[in-house]
Symmetry: C2
Subunit: 335 residues, 2 copies
DNA sequence: TTGTATGCGTTATCAC
DNA sequence: GTGATAACGCATACAA
């Protein structure tokens, strides 16, 4: 049913190897036979079997991308960047989402290895998990690039400077007169959440302020959690004056809930997020993160590895985060 | 370097076929050898090669999903639904985005066929394009399900009732007293855009109102276009009282631009979108579309085809669209 | 310039 | 129960 190079060999009276060579534009074939081969291939409706090609050539022309959440714009832009570069290389990408679940991440990585992807780009869970599967991956000799760093694992990494982002955000709030600040942490498996939080604590401390335990919310993830948190904040008797959210999605959830509860932002409550997502009407003060660029960069270095253009040591690159002041933080006069 | 069943055959002194059978839990092997094989595989660090398996078994365990825009929540939710069902079947998905470009769609489909995916889910461009590649795909005998219908092409399809969505939205605006209504059409390759627009025109006409040409914007796609349109609307001397946007992303762009220009929504301008995207603070009146459910349904019927559970005729399912009234449309008293 | 032979890692069809 | 052996579709080294 499926036409193979054997069929077109038979049809043209040439050998399989000639067909293969001519089809792949290898040198050493007359223009005449090349055309003959191409014509026959066209006529028979030949579609190269990349599976067979992969088995024989040790390269599948596909890479795997493992993110944490398909519905978060943060990962959408990373994905977009990766896709773009992959496309430029004639590659195709398997997209997997771990959904912040350890076992899912493990399963996806193993599935990708079994599918013999030429390389892997992974946004790994970094807190409260084990990393055996990464060391195993390393031994399996499939090139991979990480969005985040894992202790003792040598590979190319990209990071965003989350600590500094947390610091900027806290400094900003402080400079606007806020001291009763609420902090909504992201997923407990997120190192970004941890870093931003410790930056928050430390920056507060350096200004002689102690963070209030009651004002920190753990493990928020997604808009639903954001709304739940917002509801709680709105109902607090000694409400904070500002809240730092792990990301814009959560911030948007908080804003929705808080407004539904009859509060105004920033008049009654100042709010800051992270990621600077574009599709949003609210003038949210946030921290911009170059996700699209990071996606492209991740893919570039992966392809450098795959195509062996670079065999030198592993590189570790950190992207800056940058506070974008808009109108969701109010200047406080009377502390 | 890579350990194969041949290696584990050598290690155990058994035959390759025995290894293969035992590993795949085929019946007819003693518990003893099965355990021996498993142990050896574990010890040698055997990782099955799905490429080789695919070549031999004619099934790759992967499907392709071709959407139009990775960064649009609409497709994110479809993707999420598809991924979920694929995962349940032990399948992996290639994600491709056509970016509303005809040639990209063609290339992606062909790439997927070359990769011998077991099936394809496609959100095709439906206007101002040719469909030869779909008829070709049909002849290549790879199962596929479409989000949209193509004339003369028999396959399973899902659709959203865009005409009715357009009607609902127009009726609503009319009932709120609006007659000077602006319509922002989506991509010119979008049939949804076309249907909604014709519903708009017809509904208006049935109320004895003629649509104003100056109030229709063509080919908007993404937030940037939405903002550009919003800017233009804000600057119009005889500004419309309401605007219907192809989707929420565009609507959000319009709202941003219009507010930057100093207008209030809905006081100065009423706005309606489509899709009901969740991550959004603005109380946008919009049309909800069951994207996540559709994603799951698309995948279900694809797997029905792949696993031959259903061999009867092709099915065509239409999901309803439902107006969600929030606060972006104002009641007009003096027409 | 073209043809032959072999291998890639599995699965599958047979015998034994 | 288990073991040869032949596909699967292509690439490639080597001959011719």
């Amino acid at each position: 049913m499926n036409v193979t190079i054997a069929d077109i060999a038979k049809a043209t009276g040439l050998a399989k190897s000639t067909i293969s060579g001519a089809l792949n534009n290898k040198s050493g074939f007359s223009e005449k036979t090349r055309r003959r081969v191409l014509a026959a291939a066209e006529e028979l409706g030949y579609v190269p079997n990349e599976i067979a090609r992969g088995l024989s050539s040790k390269s599948t022309g596909s890479i795997g991308l493992i993110i944490k959440d398909i519905t978060n714009p943060f990962y959408n832009h990373i994905t977009k960047g990766v896709q773009e570069i992959a496309g430029e290389h004639g590659y195709t990408v398997f997209l997997c989402s771990s959904g912040e679940e350890h076992q899912a991440e493990i399963n996806h990585i193993q599935a990708m290895v079994r599918k013999r992807v030429d390389g892997l780009i992974i946004a790994p869970l970094l807190e409260e998990v084990t990393f055996d599967h990464f060391f195993e991956l390393k031994e399996q000799n499939v090139p991979f690039v990480l969005l985040g760093k894992i202790q003792g694992l040598s590979c190319d990494t990209y990071e965003f400077d989350d600590y500094d982002g947390g610091r900027q955000v806290t400094e900003h709030l402080l400079s606007m007169g806020h001291t009763r600040i609420c902090f909504v942490r992201g997923p407990k498996t997120s190192k970004a959440a941890k870093l931003r939080y410790s930056a928050f604590i430390n920056t507060l401390k350096s200004h002689g302020i102690e963070a209030d335990e009651r004002y920190v919310f753990q493990n928020a993830n997604g808009i639903a959690d954001g709304m739940a948190v917002g509801k709680q904040i709105a109902a607090m008797p000694d409400r904070p004056t500002a809240v730092i959210c792990f990301d814009d999605v959560i911030a948007i959830g908080v804003i929705k809930a808080v407004m539904e509860a009859g509060l105004q932002v920033p008049e009654d409550l100042s709010i800051i997020g992270f990621d600077d997502i574009e599709v949003n009407t609210f003038p949210l003060t946030t921290v911009s993160i170059p996700t699209y660029e990071a996606g492209k960069a991740l893919a570039w270095t992966l392809f450098d590895r795959i195509l062996q253009r670079r065999t030198s040591g592993f590189q570790h690159i950190t992207f800056e985060q940058k506070l974008i002041e808009r109108a969701s933080v109010r200047q406080l006069y009377n502390k």
